[in-house]
Amino acid sequence: MKCKVCRGHAVVDVRRHNAAFCGDHFVDHVRAQVARAIKEFRMFEPEERLLVAVSGGKDSLALWEILLELGYDATGFYLDLGIGSYSTRSKEAATTFAEQIGASLVVRSLSGEHGYTVPDLARLTRRVPCSGCGLNKRYELNRAALEGGFNVLVTGHNLDDEVATLFGNVLHWNVDMLARQAPVLEERMLDPPDAARRVLVKKVKPLVRVAERETAAYAVLRGIDYVVEECPMVEGNTHHRLKEAMTMLEEASPGTKQQFLFGFFKNASRRFHEADSEDPLVACANCGGPTVEWERGDQAVCSFCKTKSLVEARRHQPSPPRRPHRRVR
């Protein structure tokens, strides 16, 4: 295959664009796709301060590098989830990369901030690890962005992530989630009487036009040393299965993923959004963060604080007695 731009030897094929690229022109192509998404969805302006969620994986490291290369003011944020050696290696990848590119990285840990890890959360709440992990990451990222006075929170969700989420939401007709799925979620203030206090920082996904295979190729070509190993708690994860299914369709019919997602943005998301009434936000009685009004009472408490108190309560309880084995005759 030959590079679409210079006719030199191609190293990456992008079948949905009916194109292949040499290393240098592929790097240009990915950066141009990110720049286009930032402009198309009005994500942020050059003078704004960005906080980039960095996991040590390919997407977030590649995105962070691209934003810096495009000249944006992008600080990294790494949250240590306490998932054994996987977290050790991820943290190492994030901190080493930050040093290499001379960028500033804020590092916090769940155990340092709250006294538990993701495996603790899963065990004590008896829920799937990804649900507690996602809730804690969203909470800590938003908190760090508010405390640091950042304008925008940036995440490395790519085309495949957004397609898998859309596919899952459609399969279950999760209309509330469909109303909120967008490359940009605007910042939100508390509703009266506490209005004028920003509680949710604007969130954006600049990799929405870039497939996961392309962020991986970008990372390899740029010599970004990311963690290839999969999170050990993700096994059997629904999101991953949805990605695999969509990738089979993409292999048979290139362009399927992009048509599905961008067709949704163009033709359908507005309909879900119009039919949805956004719940007013009030302050959590415990942490002061946002929670929705239908939970209001004297003690409106956010999901994060509810989960945290459940973990603390169960940590001090003796573990439930094991059921005796039933003898098989």
């Binding site: 295959m1 191609a10 190293v11 990456v12 094929d13 079948r15 292949a20 290393g23 994986g57 390919k58 997407d59 990804c130 649900s131 992990c133 996602g134 495949d160 992530d161 898998a164 989420t165 899952g168 996961e212 295979r213 962020t215 991986a216 190729a217 390899v220 070509l221 290839v228 190993e229 999969e230 999170c231 993700v234 096994e235 994860n237 999101h239 991953h240 990605k243 695999e244 990738t247 089979m248 993409e250 292999e251």
Partner: protein, 66 residues
Amino acid sequence: MKVKLRNPDRVVDVDGPRTVYDVLRTLDMVPEAVLVIRDATLLTRDENLEDTDEIEVRPVLSGGAE
């Protein structure tokens, strides 16, 4: 040829010469879900591989909660 696979890390033997695409189909892998790397260089699916080559097939889809 030696083919390094990930998650978990292991090495399998595949007879050459073959194209990248043929190696992936032999291993029952979807080309859109992986990158193929030889000597730190990426390979497109039409590249020819010799019996003496050493390549890595790296999965690109990761899981995690939304």
